[in-house]
Structure formats: structure tokens, C-alpha cells
């Protein structure tokens, strides 16, 4: 009985793909059409509000996952993909409409692409759906969201955009070794915090 209980407690928790946390993550895509509309019409304040809502949903999905106990490896990857899609779209949009300098945006998109490729290589090395936890990159996600807000709000735009580039480059160099060379930690078991 004890052995059976231990065996069942160490089995990975199965979480449905359709859960409240993933729904909140998916809802972030709904802010993109209004964001485009606001930028295309030159409505700076509305554009800022829509990107703010997108950023708030980003913070909310983790909270919802904890409240409803639906944290999963897929959810983490979906969240990372949504970050890249929403903020990538926002950056391209503000650069295309001349609200942000093009060169740093091109550098950001390129470095973001390299980061995605490295994460895929990491998942392939691990042989499972997993997302490398980068404490530094987590901090730049908020900065990236804010960048779009700085562009839509006309707030020290060139300063913030150019300051981002060396930071992102430093993080890429640091994370490259961790993702491509260093040993991969074992998969977490049920009840343990996902890293």
C-alpha cells in the first residue's frame, strides 16, 4: 500500500490543455487587433491602454494557474510563445508606423529569434516539453512590454529602445551556454515547483 501510494504521488500531474490559465494567456491575442487599430489611427493613448491590458493578462495567467492548480509545462511554453508573438507584433507595429526606431527593433526581433531557436534546442536535448527558466530573460519580458508602451506614449523612446539592445545581447550570451552546453536538470515530479 505504501509503495503504491509513493508511486502514485511521484507520477506527473496531468493538466488539461483547456484550462483557465491557458484561456487567460490566449485572451492576450484579443488585444492585438485593437492595438493595430489604435496605432493605425494615431490614437497614442488607446494604443498604450491596449498594450497595458496585454501586459496585465501576462501577469494574471500565472496567478490563475496557481489559484486553479493548472500549472503545466505546456502552459509555460504557451506563455513564452504568446509573449514572443504579442510583443513581437507590437514592436514591429510601432516600428512600421514610425513610432519607434527601426534598428533596435530589428536587433530585438533577431535576438528574440535566436532565443527561440536555443529554447527549441534545449527542449530537444531534454527530450520533453520544457522551457528553460532564465531569471534574466524573465525580467526583460516586462521591459519588452513596456517598450511598446514607451513607443505608443512617446516616452524617452530612443533612450529606452537603444538601452535594451546591450542588455538583451548580454543575456543571450549568458543563456546560450546554459541552454546548449550545461547539463539539463531532471523533469519535476508532481507537487514540486516547476523551474
Amino acid at each position: 500500500m505504501v509503495a503504491a501510494s509513493e508511486a502514485s504521488s511521484s507520477a506527473p500531474a496531468r493538466v488539461s490543455l483547456v484550462n483557465p490559465a491557458n484561456a487567460v494567456t490566449a485572451a492576450r491575442y484579443l488585444t492585438l487587433p485593437p492595438l493595430y487599430w489604435a496605432v493605425a489611427h494615431g490614437y497614442h493613448q488607446w494604443a498604450t491602454i491596449f498594450i497595458l491590458i496585454c501586459g496585465l493578462f501576462d501577469k494574471l495567467d500565472g496567478l490563475v494557474a496557481r489559484i486553479f492548480h493548472c500549472k503545466s509545462a505546456f502552459g509555460e511554453v504557451f506563455d513564452a510563445i504568446t509573449d514572443a508573438a504579442c510583443y513581437g507584433f507590437g514592436l514591429i507595429l510601432v516600428a512600421a508606423f514610425g513610432w519607434a526606431p527601426v534598428l533596435p527593433v530589428v536587433a530585438m526581433i533577431a535576438m528574440g529569434g535566436i532565443n527561440v531557436v536555443m529554447r527549441l534546442a534545449y527542449a530537444k536535448r531534454a527530450g520533453r516539453t520544457t522551457n528553460y527558466k532564465s531569471y534574466a530573460m524573465e525580467r526583460t519580458v516586462a521591459y519588452t512590454g513596456y517598450l511598446i508602451g514607451f513607443a505608443t506614449g512617446g516616452m524617452a523612446v530612443h533612450f529606452y529602445f537603444w538601452a535594451y539592445v546591450p542588455l538583451m545581447a548580454a543575456i543571450l550570451v549568458h543563456d546560450a551556454r546554459r541552454m546548449l552546453v550545461d547539463p539539463i536538470p531532471p523533469a519535476p515530479v508532481a507537487g514540486a515547483e516547476v523551474h
Binding site: Q45, W46, K133, A136, A142, F159, Y160, A163, D182
Partner: protein, 75 residues
């Protein structure tokens, strides 16, 4: 729909508060975290990752505050 839901001055201060109100405390909190982690075993890659993250967090916080000051024409 009105193209400007608030006045320009309100909007400018909202951006400043949203940015500075996050960036300032963020730099302070990550400074404290970095200070607390100084005795941790740096041979552990997770510890090194965290410390690197704190340094990046401090840098982002400082950049955020400087940007606010530039936006308000303080510097």
C-alpha cells in the same frame, strides 16, 4: 470613441508613475536579493543564474528611472 480618453498631462504622469513606480522598487528589491545571495554557493548554476538575473533587474530598474527623469525633463 474619443481619441484621447484623458488629458495629455494626465497621460504623461500615468506613464511616469507606471514606469517609475515599478522600476525604482524593482532596482531596490533586486539589489537586496543580490546582497542576500552573496554567501550562496556560486558553483551551483541556478545560484549564478539568479545572481545574473538580479544584476539585469538592477540595470533595468536604473534605466527605467533615468527614462522617467528624461521624460519629465529633469535630466
Amino acid at each position: 470613441m474619443s481619441p484621447t480618453p484623458m488629458s495629455d498631462a494626465t497621460f504623461k504622469w500615468m506613464l511616469t508613475v507606471l514606469t517609475g513606480g515599478l522600476a525604482g522598487p524593482w532596482a531596490i528589491i533586486d539589489s537586496i536579493q543580490l546582497w542576500r545571495s552573496r554567501t550562496a554557493d556560486r558553483r551551483d548554476p541556478i545560484v549564478r543564474d539568479k545572481q545574473f538575473g538580479y544584476v539585469i533587474g538592477i540595470a533595468i530598474g536604473v534605466i527605467g528611472v533615468i527614462g522617467c527623469l528624461k521624460f519629465q525633463n529633469v535630466i
